[in-house]
Each structure stands twice: as structure tokens, then as C-alpha cells.
Symmetry: C2
């Protein structure tokens, strides 16, 4: 239980961010090109070190704003800690991985740190620096589980959204097609998940019957959960 703070090489604590968005029915993730060694020029998850008086959540929000231009209005969840001794060759770094779910990214402004950020479809997020491939895979699994038990899917949508938009979020993250009729009943039958939004109906893609608008409801957990077909099956 004793600890001499100068006896050991210091640890650094970092946050790594898997920033997800859904565009045109495709799950995308934000990556940055590394500007320095190690792994210069390779793609990595955005992230950075905790400052002396920051919690992990605060550091995550700050780094997200700095590196990708996303400022507030997103959902942040903890994925896990990565603490293997040699995961960063420079020094001992313990990373706290988070997911950030954002409705839509403003295009990064040139000249800022955010200019190095790019969006890629999750399926094409190639080999990444450090152990970020593993972190990204864990984060994706984590988001899939969040959609089952929490209203996290609404974090991908604008403030008012149609049930079709919400369904496409689930389909993009889970990679499976869902029955629109059954999805509708499940969502509306889950108390607090969505509430009807006032205002006129909206045309989703131009064609088809205009859809009613909903907003995110007060629930933080989904009862019953929205299980995806693959779950009980595999």
C-alpha cells in the first residue's frame, strides 16, 4: 500500500477515442494521421494524455474538440483500460479507451489539429498504430452492446429524427437488416426511449410517405432491451 512517487519511472495516463458516426447508413470512425514517431504517418485513434487535474471524461472531451473539431453534444462511454507494459515504445502508458457517438461531423477546418482527422467506414479502418486495432474492435463491440440496453442510438441522430433513421443506425452498427414494422413496435413499446416530437413530418430521402418525428426520451436504460437477431442465435 506504500508508494514512493519518485521510486519508479512515472506512468502516463491517456485516453483513446473511438469516435463513431453513421452517414448514409454506413458506420464511420474518425482517425488521425500521426505526425510524429513512433508510427509517423500511420493512422491511429484520436486521443491524448490526461492533464494533471483532468478526469478521463474531461480529457476525452477536450481531445475530441482539439483533434476532430467535435464540441459537445455527444455521448461518451467508457470501454476499458489498456495497460500492457510495452504497448507504447516511448514510455509506460495506460490508456483509457472511450467511445464517442456523434450525430454528424462538421468538416474539419484546415490549419487546425483537426485538419489531420479523417472519417473512414468502420469496415475499411485498416491497420492502425499501437494496439489501436484491438481497441477499435473492442469499442465496436461495446457500441453494439450499448444499442441493446441503452438509448445510445439516439446519439447518432439529430435532435429530431424519424424511426427510419433510428433503424438505419442499428443496421449500420450491427451489420444486419431489421424488419421496419417490428423495429417500430419495439422502439415505441420501450418506455422512455423516444417521445413524439411536435412539428411537421419529414421526408427522409425525398421519396415515400413523410415520417413522424421523435426526440430522445428520458430513459437511460432500455426495458426490455432491443436484442439483435444475431445475439441469441450464434
Amino acid at each position: 500500500m506504500t508508494y514512493d512517487k519518485h521510486r519508479y519511472e512515472p506512468f502516463a495516463v491517456a485516453v483513446d477515442l473511438a469516435v463513431f458516426t453513421v452517414r448514409e447508413g454506413v458506420l464511420e470512425v474518425v482517425l488521425v494521421e500521426r505526425g510524429e514517431e513512433p508510427h509517423r504517418g500511420r493512422l491511429a485513434l484520436p486521443g491524448g494524455f490526461l492533464r494533471p487535474r483532468e478526469s478521463a471524461a474531461e480529457a476525452a472531451r477536450r481531445e475530441l474538440a482539439e483533434e476532430t473539431g467535435v464540441a459537445g453534444g455527444f455521448r461518451l462511454d467508457e470501454v476499458g483500460a489498456y495497460s500492457e507494459p510495452d504497448r507504447d515504445p516511448r514510455m509506460r502508458v495506460v490508456s483509457l479507451a472511450h467511445t464517442a457517438l456523434v450525430p454528424h461531423l462538421p468538416e474539419p477546418r484546415a490549419g487546425t489539429d483537426a485538419a489531420r482527422a479523417l472519417r473512414l467506414p468502420y469496415a475499411e479502418a485498416g491497420p492502425l498504430a499501437f494496439d489501436h486495432d484491438r481497441i477499435l474492435a473492442d469499442a465496436h463491440r461495446h457500441v453494439g452492446a450499448l444499442l441493446e440496453t441503452t438509448p445510445a442510438a439516439t446519439a447518432f441522430c439529430p435532435p429530431a429524427f424519424t424511426l427510419g433513421e433510428l433503424r438505419r443506425v442499428y443496421e449500420a452498427v450491427w451489420g444486419t437488416a431489421l424488419d421496419p414494422a417490428n423495429f417500430r413496435r419495439k422502439v415505441l413499446g420501450t418506455p422512455g426511449f423516444t417521445v413524439p416530437a411536435p412539428g411537421p413530418a419529414r421526408l427522409t430521402g425525398g421519396r415515400g410517405k413523410p415520417a413522424a418525428l421523435y426526440r430522445a426520451g428520458p430513459a437511460t436504460r432500455l426495458h426490455p432491451p432491443l436484442t439483435h437477431p444475431e445475439g441469441p442465435r450464434s
Copy 2:
């Protein structure tokens, strides 16, 4: 992304352990009495700092052996990271909380560090040092969720166990009574959860029909999950 390792006060990284066991149908947790300031004499979760070349899991297993005498043969799961700046008054400490599920604790030997360890029913685990009340509550919730989707309950049982013993684990962790008949069918109907163990039947408590023995099966996830009554209801 740059970081000068000597520019800031160093961080310390620790593991905190919520060590659970089920005795006589009661969920118990292992606590230690702090031998030094801060919070000298108060109860706390066992834990300690990561050594320079240890991962969190390695540190957790080492600390568990040192502080409670539990050596190997237990299940370890990650709960989350606690990173608020002032959670430890001595210095900046980021704690990685874990749960350890053990079938039965050997009585701690006097004269070792483990002598300060004690078991308490979870419900009576009073106010703890630091933010350990919150960590313990999170850990308990985490174990409850693990029982639904993983075979974690077998970690509380000896190598060969009866379905009645397994059911009492669920009842102790969830705090609810379960129908023995339905529980039995659910467990046996979940592939890979349990496999019949050779050998004679065992008397659980002396009275009643002798029960068949089972061992933990090869599954790491439960399909379908064992949902508890409170889940979909509340």
C-alpha cells in the same frame, strides 16, 4: 500528442479489487483495514499500485495473493477506471477496478498482510475509505450483469457443483428467489454452460434427494442469456 514525461507530477496507476464469494447463500466481499493514513483504521477494498512492468491483470492477481491469500483459480473481470483528480489526497491516482470471483476463501494466516483481510456480507459493507463505496456498488452491478451473459456464476462454485448450489449463487448476487425448476431447465438448455460431472451424486445440505454434479462447460458467453426477473420488469 507530445508528452514530456518530467513536465508533470507523475500519475500512479492502481488496481482496486472487489473480491466476492458466496457462503451459505450470502454474498460476501473481502475488505482490508487500512494500516496507514489517509483513512487509517477504516475499511477499504484490497488493491495496490502497478509495478513498472506489470499489466493491470497481473497486478490484480499479485495483490490478491498478497493481501488476502487467494492464489489463482479465480475469475477476474474489469469494471472500469476511476480517474477523478482528488480521489486520493496523497497524489494523483488512477484506479482500475476489477472484480474477483472466488469459490471459497481460505482463512487468512496471522502474521501476513492477509491477516488484516476480513469477509463481510455485501449488504453490511459499511462506509469505505476513498471512493470505494462507489467502486464496490459498480462492481456489484457488474457481477450481476456478468451472471446474465457469462458463466461467471461457476467461478463461485467448487470444481464440481450441483444446480442447487449454482442457483443459490444467482439468488445471492441478484437478491431474488428463483424457481428451481425453471432455473434448471434454463441452465441445462444453455449450450456449454455446464457439463455433467462423473462421480456420485452429492447431498447439498444433508436433507433432500441427492443432486447430480456438474462442471463448468466450455462456453464463455451464454446464449440465450439468463435474464433475471427484475431486469425486463423495472
